[in-house]
Symmetry: C2
């Protein structure tokens, strides 16, 4: 049942006709507010101030779709440069996360790398950090290549890896010599069985094993690990392995989305975990929102409730 | 439902009144044969010959209960010394596994250590191997101490660790400097929630994380790892992590009980895994058999079927 609903939602995310129409419906616009403070940078920064008071850092991403023209990538880069200025001006402890396809990976890979380098240099100058997000499995090789090239000259950069991909354990071994920063997530695309683990049990076990590997390696080399999951039990299980290996719970970060398990985010921050909230904003939220619903079918009920009168 | 049945079976295992009577029932004696070729050493060795032809090694354990007198421990030691002679005489690739309480751990810890050292030396002389089994959580500290002392002088010795125990990740870190041999099992006692993970998901994830840790460490130091589980999917998930870290599938062993997933044992051996079958024998099989049923409630049906007329 959950698997079917997930498939339907991911199809909703990709379907061009729905993509044009669904986001315009007022109930959808109300529903997405659960996960997004607003479409503007200002909305995101405003939400960040409240979190900062609680000791919770923030990560920003502007929602956008794959680009088809190189000039659009320059506009996205300029947008993130402006965002870094505004984060600094607002005295917020914030980092940025970008999708390579928004920087033109499909159009011109070298230009995409140039944009990443520009953003990484700006992030460093601002004392911030650049995270490269990961998209569906067809992008993994190219995204890893970009990160490997980038990390050679830009230390304040990280990459997202997906625990549901069978290849990820191998990718981790490849990245280890770089002393990487890794944001580990479970994964939210509709991948075939040959490519990705399908059961929650297998994905969780893979997530734990990879996180433990990285935390044990972090004793010997510079590694930054962000646990991009809302599965608090899994986080606590990882923390207990980390403690066994002599890594305290401030030796990694817990990265959750704005609006999901907000109480748990505060509780973790109070109990000594380093917590970062990922805040998304922008007009192109529709496919992203569908993937979030697919991750937690329980949220679909919340969305449907917005259909009912006040 | 499974949890309840498990609790009942583990209570059956401990109850003194049932322990006296149930093993005498003919249907129980028929049922246990699924997991045990017979009560005598000869039965075990006979079964081993058939396995050896298929490239499957064997591990032997004589089922026994906790001892109350020191002299009984000497008799158990003598039994295993005779077993080692018979393994060698039969030209079988076999190793032995002993429970510290059968060697008098409850009665005299130093004498127990002496017996272990005697058995380890004999195992080495025979080109065999001595595995120390693990019992309920109240024995873990003492058993680890024994192993640590033993391993200092006896390299051909290993210890069993249980992935359902929360402490095991920490115990692994403690043992790593020894270059240990570890037989990792899920765990089959009825432990409280504070001590042990209770959900299959958590136990499996812990098992995977610990196995991956050991396999990655095995690249840098002498470590022997036996996966004592019938969960073939978990074994394959571990093998894939191992491959990612450059450890081939003959870099560890798969250890399963006689009679459980026998076809899978043969399939794994054919496809390049190192497989060992653990053969139990002896008269005191009742509590052990109850724990095996508790592990796989599906087996209870098989046992009950023995009640029906032939």
């Amino acid at each position: 049942m959950h698997r079917l609903m997930r498939k339907v939602l991911l199809w909703f995310a990709r379907n061009a006709w729905l993509r044009e129409r669904l986001p315009k419906l007022p109930f959808m616009q109300r529903a997405v507010r659960r996960f997004m403070p607003g479409e503007e940078i200002g909305d995101a920064l405003h939400a960040a101030v409240d979190l900062q008071v609680l000791g919770i850092g923030t990560l920003y991403t502007r929602l956008g779709e794959n680009l088809t023209e190189a000039s659009q990538a320059q506009a996205v880069t300029d947008h993130y440069l402006a965002l870094l200025d505004r984060i600094t001006a607002a005295e917020i402890d914030g980092e940025i996360s970008v999708k390579p396809t928004q920087l033109g990976l499909d159009v011109d890979e070298d230009a995409c790398f140039g944009h990443l380098r520009t953003l990484a240099a700006a992030a460093e100058a601002h004392g911030s950090y650049l995270w490269i997000d990961m998209e569906d499995s067809s992008y993994v090789d190219r995204t890893l290549d970009l990160y490997q090239r980038l990390r050679a000259s830009q230390p304040r950069t990280g990459i997202c890896l997906q625990a549901y991909l069978r290849r990820t354990a191998k990718d981790v071994e490849r990245l280890l010599p770089l002393g990487p920063a890794i944001r580990l997530v479970k994964g939210a695309y509709d991948e075939p069985r040959e490519v990705a683990f399908r059961s929650k049990k297998e994905v969780d076990a893979n997530f734990l094993a990879i996180a433990v590997t990285l935390l044990r390696e972090s004793r010997a080399r510079q590694i930054r690990l962000g646990l991009g999951t809302h599965d608090v039990e899994l986080v606590e299980q990882i923390a207990s392995h980390a403690a066994a290996a002599g890594v305290t719970k401030d030796g990694f970060e817990v990265q959750m989305l704005y609006g999901i398990r907000a109480k748990e985010q505060r509780r973790l921050a109070r109990s000594g975990y380093k917590v970062q909230t990922l805040i998304a904003y922008g007009a192109a939220w529709y496919p992203w929102y569908m993937r979030r619903l697919a991750e937690r079918p329980a949220n679909v009920l919340f969305a449907l409730r917005q259909l009912l009168p006040g």
